[in-house]
Symmetry: D2
Subunit: 151 residues, 4 copies
């Protein structure tokens, strides 16, 4: 898509980000995410001291998608890894290259800032998303185990 | 296994940890990991300020296995997630419950300290490891994409 | 003061903390602190991933004072240092030992958790505060230089 | 001093940094600093994930001075503060502007990266150092209290 600008989210983006975040949660069946979690996540996103950040895809001045990442150390490298936890493009703008623009932007940031890798997870059955992801590389043959510990 | 003690690695454990770490790297075909990465990883492990830590499985006073984890924020919870990046039990002691003791220990730590979840990855084809992991829960249906960015 | 309980601030303490925080800012002539700074500070205080935390002094179920600290690495020790940035006791409860209870509590936490030291600054001319502080130790003979960089 | 280059310390600078670090410790009567503290400090300095960093003053290809800083959050600002913990210029190169070059460099970094302030401490009686510091601003009228908690 021509005319897409990708930039870091700042405090003034809260109102534009929130509906996309809610639509993203709805997609994953997490409409019930408590409001205080959304508050904390936003606060971490705009906190320059935290290792959580969001890149926004902006088209014609409107925020149309986001990528939220967490930089963390790992044990097989000196450089940090970047975990792309959340990626979303609003439905009206789907299929026009915004998802690709967001991932390309992270790859460019990572090469510039010296991340060891960029990684994310997706549901095995999410064919639409995987069509995009497979253009970068195949899934790496690892599955995920996750044990909830709260409550 | 009776008599297994699980405890946090400290500076004095370096000599006992190193051969297990090297055997673990060998298993994953990473014998070539540069020495300065091992140095940095050990330094982070014993640094009380870092969010990387190692729990050791000790039997009769000998270190026989380790679990190295990274605590990091996530976007769907206020509490941190614990990423179990490396888990290893030395071959001579395999099959006696040390892997299970290390994971059980992390689950107990996480419940005590309020982690939102404990997660790890394993190769789809690693049947031995998955037999153990499946006792906790099935893999969660997510695959991993990972793009190396260095070099 | 008998009956003072010192405990960590949690999300539900926001309404009780805010007037004390505002009174504290007033004392330092910082009534003009932007609301988004207060928001961010509170968010960091209740974020279990951040290294900022607040201990509250509670008397008869009412929050009467607070100590806000930042744990950070330093270069002359492996263990973190604890910087006590803000200490406040509401005027009605002044002189009854709450300041002392808050500092004593931090000393006990630090001994338990292995901080290398606990430190704070105070105005050279603040005789009231220094009377309390001098009971712990004399000021250490260092002055502070601070250059604002914003704006 | 013409020809001074200020740059970030990297792994290959260890041998050049160590004698300056030891001379600096000697100045403060801390020749006894345990070797494992120096190891940890160096590891944090070159760790891109840590918030500790060192800038080196290099003249004619030789490292002649260093500034080691810790970035940390504070409660009166959204932006991080930069604590300049260690500043040293080797004796042979004293009085030629290297200390000034190191502080100027930090001020420039801070303006670029959005730190709220840059601060440091110095002994009240250190007239030589204060002559340099007073060119930036007067000491801010605060004294420091510091309670050792270990051992």
């Amino acid at each position: 898509m021509s005319g897409v600008v990708v930039r870091t989210a700042v405090a003034a983006d809260r109102a534009a980000w929130e509906p996309l975040w809610q639509a993203y949660l709805l997609f994953y069946g997490r409409k019930d995410l408590p409001a205080d979690v959304t508050e904390m996540t936003w606060s971490r996103i705009i906190d320059p001291v935290s290792n959580v950040f969001t890149r926004l895809a902006v088209v014609d001045g409107k925020v149309r998608g986001f990528a939220t990442c967490i930089l963390h150390p790992r044990t097989w490298a000196i450089e940090p890894a970047c975990y792309l936890e959340d990626l979303y493009v609003d439905e009206a703008t789907r299929g026009k290259g915004l998802g690709r623009a967001l991932i390309d932007d992270l790859i460019a940031m990572g090469r510039r800032d010296g991340w060891t890798n960029l990684y994310w997870h997706t549901e095995t059955t999410n064919a639409t998303a995987r069509r995009l992801y497979d253009r970068y590389d195949k899934a790496d043959g690892f599955v995920r185990y996750r044990l909830p510990l709260k409550g």
